[in-house]
């Protein structure tokens, strides 16, 4: 098996594993704030091996997330596309950040994701452009915080995985 194909398979495998982990169902409140490991995993691969993450990865996993979450078709590909593009553009700047700085960036990224997901594209609520209310904003913050706290865990586990299986 050629090396690029093997690398892509191992990256896909890690994404599928995190995708399945994200599928686990928890009590409602935890479900609302639990970290999105697939997106964290995407960020890691974009920063660690930016040349390996191509558009098909972004689109396939994005559409899968849309189908699983019941969101409008195109929202998650859009989120992953923006994340991939900016991660690949600025990974040189991101890598030397301290972990606290990286966590802060991750916090802002996930906060923005939640805002995007709350936009009322179907116009179900004619009085507002968003479906969010005060409770939802509080869950935004918890969600972003937990994701940023999970970042070091994902970073170290995927780095060990990369060093073991994807030698660059």
């Amino acid at each position: 098996m050629s090396k690029p194909l093997r690398d892509n398979l191992f990256i896909s495998l890690s994404l599928i594993i995190f995708f399945i982990i994200d599928l686990f169902s928890f009590p409602v409140y935890i479900n609302e704030i639990k970290p999105s490991f697939i997106i964290l995993c995407f960020i890691y691969w974009n920063i660690a091996l930016p040349e390996k993450i191509k558009l098909p990865f972004v689109l396939v996993f994005g559409f899968l997330l849309d189908l699983i979450n019941g969101t409008l078709l195109g929202i998650h590909p859009l989120i992953l596309l923006i994340i991939s593009y900016f991660s690949q553009r600025y990974f040189y700047q991101f890598r030397p950040f301290t972990f606290i700085q990286q966590c802060l960036v991750i916090f802002l990224v996930f906060f923005s994701i939640k805002i995007l997901l709350a936009i009322d594209f179907n116009n179900t609520n004619p009085n507002s452009l968003t479906l969010a209310n005060k409770d939802y904003v509080i869950s935004f913050i918890w969600y972003s915080l937990l994701n940023s706290l999970s970042w070091p865990l994902i970073f170290f586990s995927l780095r060990a995985y990369r060093r073991r299986w994807i030698k660059t």
Partner: protein, 284 residues
């Protein structure tokens, strides 16, 4: 060395081995395609034609997700000690004594039941109107919660926008159909609207979901309407989309604010079907 592995400097003609990100052109095209898809799906709900089939394809993933919880369940069962089993045995003996007493009473009741059965038969719901579905996946997306159920529908009776019932009442409507799997928008979904009638005052209204963790609301209810807190809401059957007389929620609060022409009525929707495995789909 492949040509796309590196850039060539325009000044010195030397190779630059900087990593190439997704090109701006590809990014813009993909970005526009995504926006186009979102707008089209938001406006015309085009994805409903593919979602059901997509769930058919990814349904093995749902089975994988169930594996850890079933293993955990089995481990818990195995951990039951002998003492627990002995205690249970003693309890069962006590129950057996009670049951012998009850049996004699039941025989009496059986006769009455037979009479009731005849009455029940005459008013029985149309069984053919319902299909049984088994839960495959429950997505608790706070804004758009969905349920995926597997239904055997050889006669293709199921269509979109049909009611789905749990043991409590109506919990959602079908939104997308696959070969075996059906996507259901739960009553918490902001696009879920159902005509209702109140139990006490027999007033009509439309109930709307607001997302998980938030209460449903009755929309466009005039301030003169006399809904009461605690009143149960049943499907009215108006519009002939949902079957009538199924529970959909209970009014939890009624507020009247001077800057709003309508009452703000919050409704406790039925519990999320987390522990439930089987559902009925109303097909008529």
């Amino acid at each position: 060395m492949r040509a796309d592995d590196h850039k060539v400097s325009k000044i010195t003609s030397e190779a630059i081995f900087a990593v190439r990100p997704i090109s701006s052109t590809k990014f813009i095209i993909a970005f526009l395609v995504c926006i186009f898809l979102i707008l089209i799906d938001g406006r015309y709900q085009t994805s409903k034609y593919v979602r059901g089939f997509a769930h058919d394809i990814i349904s093995p993933l749902y089975l994988i997700v169930d594996v850890p919880s079933s293993i955990l369940q089995k481990m818990i069962e195995l951990r039951k000690s002998n003492q627990d089993l002995k205690k249970e045995l003693e309890e069962y003996k006590k129950r057996l004594n009670k049951l012998t007493l009850i049996t004699s009473q039941i025989e009496d009741l059986t006769k009455r039941n037979q009479e009731l059965q005849l009455l029940w038969e005459s008013t029985k719901i149309d069984e053919g109107a319902y299909l049984l579905g088994q839960k495959r996946h429950l997505s608790l997306n706070p804004m758009k919660p969905i349920l995926v159920i597997e239904v055997e529908d050889p006669n293709s009776l199921i269509q979109t926008n049909q009611a789905v019932l749990s043991k409590q009442g109506i919990i959602g409507k079908t939104t997308s159909l696959g070969i075996n799997n059906i996507e259901v928008a739960l009553s918490y979904h902001p696009e879920f609207l159902i005509p209702i009638i109140s139990s006490k005052n027999r007033l009509h209204g439309i109930l709307k979901g607001q997302g998980i963790g938030r209460k449903g609301s009755l929309i466009n209810i005039k301030k003169t309407a006399s809904f009461e807190s605690g009143e149960k809401l049943y499907s009215s059957g108006l519009g002939e989309l949902f079957p009538e007389n199924h529970l959909v929620g209970t009014i939890s609060s009624i507020k009247e604010s001077p800057d709003n022409d309508y009452l703000t009525i919050e409704v406790d929707l039925l519990d999320l079907p987390k522990g439930q495995e089987y559902f009925l789909v109303f097909t008529k």
